[in-house]
Symmetry: C2
Subunit: 299 residues, 2 copies
């Protein structure tokens, strides 16, 4: 696999490094009276990861001829939203996960109240990052705020989380499960595509933005299907997450309806649709490669 995706891995690694530096710059605040809120945010936001969402923002922008400087603030904003959602999702009143990426989850490290506030601060800060992005015109920044709020809000990610809570206690019909994942995971991925396009000067109703958003939606749902598959089969140590937590909670997942092979086939189909969606977009080879890589990933 390393050989097939050599160029992609190089770009992902380079992007992750630049994203980390940009996020660290955003998080450099210091005030001894509320140092805890900075520490708790940094704990979950910094320190690596593939930075899938920032990659998607930055790559969509690059493909359309936009600059890396223009898309990075938007990439950081969406990573802050993603991180806040993980912190709140891990809280005892939600998924009650003690471990995240192989280390104690935010509330295990900083306590429940500080983790709650760290999530709130990241969510709030994401919008500040966009407002402060003077490399973009006010028109584009306003559109970016709207895209982010819609992707993250009650008709996007939070709507998916509400459905997820329902799915923990009652079995969801298959079409509801698809809707849940389209909202909970794919809505933010779609947001990445739209933000990348905006940074390159392509409005959300442009052909390019619509195709890249279609790509991101399919990649996002495929990503979630593979997450369910990996949760089922992966070794606890590899995934850095409690094994089979979903099955243990009787949660509805793709594995409620499909066996592992069928679920993989389903994700392959979605990946194919994603690739078709960007086939008419020039210079989109890395996005095609990225969709395949997400399908093949083992953690």
């Amino acid at each position: 696999m390393e050989n097939t995706h050599a160029k992609l891995f190089e770009v992902i690694a380079e992007n992750a490094e630049r994203t980390e530096a940009a996020l660290a710059e955003i998080m450099k605040g210091e005030d001894e009276d509320f140092g805890l809120i900075y520490d708790a945010q940094r704990y979950s936001l910094l320190g690596g990861g593939k930075r899938v969402r920032p990659f998607l923002v930055n790559e969509c922008c690059r493909v359309l001829g936009g600059s890396a400087e223009a898309s990075m603030p938007l990439a950081c904003a969406i990573e802050m939203i993603h991180t806040y959602s993980l912190i709140h999702d891990d809280l005892p009143c939600m998924d009650d996960d003690d471990v995240r990426r192989g280390k104690p989850s935010n509330h295990k490290k900083f306590g429940y109240a500080n983790a709650l506030l760290a999530g709130d601060a990241l969510l709030t800060g994401a919008f500040k990052v966009i407002a402060d992005a003077e490399v973009l015109s006010p028109e584009i920044r306003v559109k970016a705020v709207r895209v982010l709020a819609e992707a993250a809000g009650e008709s996007g990610m939070i709507g998916g989380q509400i459905m997820d809570l329902v799915g923990e206690t009652e079995e969801l019909a298959f079409e509801k499960l698809i809707k849940l994942h389209s909202l909970k995971t794919a809505a933010l991925m779609e947001g990445c595509a739209k933000l990348g396009c905006l940074a390159a000067g392509y409005d959300t109703d442009s052909y390019e933005s619509e195709q890249l958003t279609e790509y991101a939606r399919n990649v996002g749902v495929a990503f979630q299907v593979m997450d369910d598959v990996l949760d089922q089969i992966a070794d606890e140590k590899i995934l850095g997450k409690h094994l089979g937590a979903d099955a243990e909670h009787n949660k509805t997942t793709f594995l409620t309806y499909y066996n592992v092979d069928e679920a993989k086939k389903y994700a392959e189909g979605l990946t194919g649709e994603a690739i078709t969606a960007v086939s008419a977009i020039e210079h989109s080879e890395l996005l095609t490669d990225f969709a395949c890589y997400l399908l093949e990933r083992e953690k």
Copy 2:
């Protein structure tokens, strides 16, 4: 008092009615799959109250000759932020309050997870309301997003909440207590003034905005001092909140340093400073009256 403030009460009531209608319009979303998130938001956001913060936004705008249409989206956005902060503050991991405004707090009514998400949705939605406010130019909307994110974020309200958590377990020095309240309560009030000014076309560095912000800061801290006083002396029924909850928790308040009369004197001094700050602003009589009213209130 009714006689002294007759005009003010008329304007506050009229403003509360218009704000309620505008918030109801924002909250009119329907999707049966995540109806709970709408219901939980509506439960805390709608149904009355004096709407102190929206009044402040709208009145600052009016004083500077701006239109009611221009400031209302910003007034709604800050009320959504205020409401989210109350929902999260009431959670068991924070202040653990079962009652808010005489009815069960959000998590008592909808459960812990839904209340958490309702708060997240209100916070996210506040920024969407600003982005959607086409009555304002993109330049002003971007500035409003920045003002709101700063007022609500880690260097504003959330910073105050973090200090508040510290103050629950250790005694805060007096100057830290002032800082705490300047952040936790007054930062959002300052945001109200700045947003009202922006809606009227006055930038945050204008003389008018600076004076109105100074007014709002003093009113905000005085408001918090009086809250501490009222918490100490008010009857549980009148306040709609568990009596003396702060004292019970050994929390640092103004009453840690002052007796009731001294605290009232302190709030009077702040109110005087607020009134001085707007004395050079034309048509600011209602703001002067409002500062006095907040000082005299009994709940």
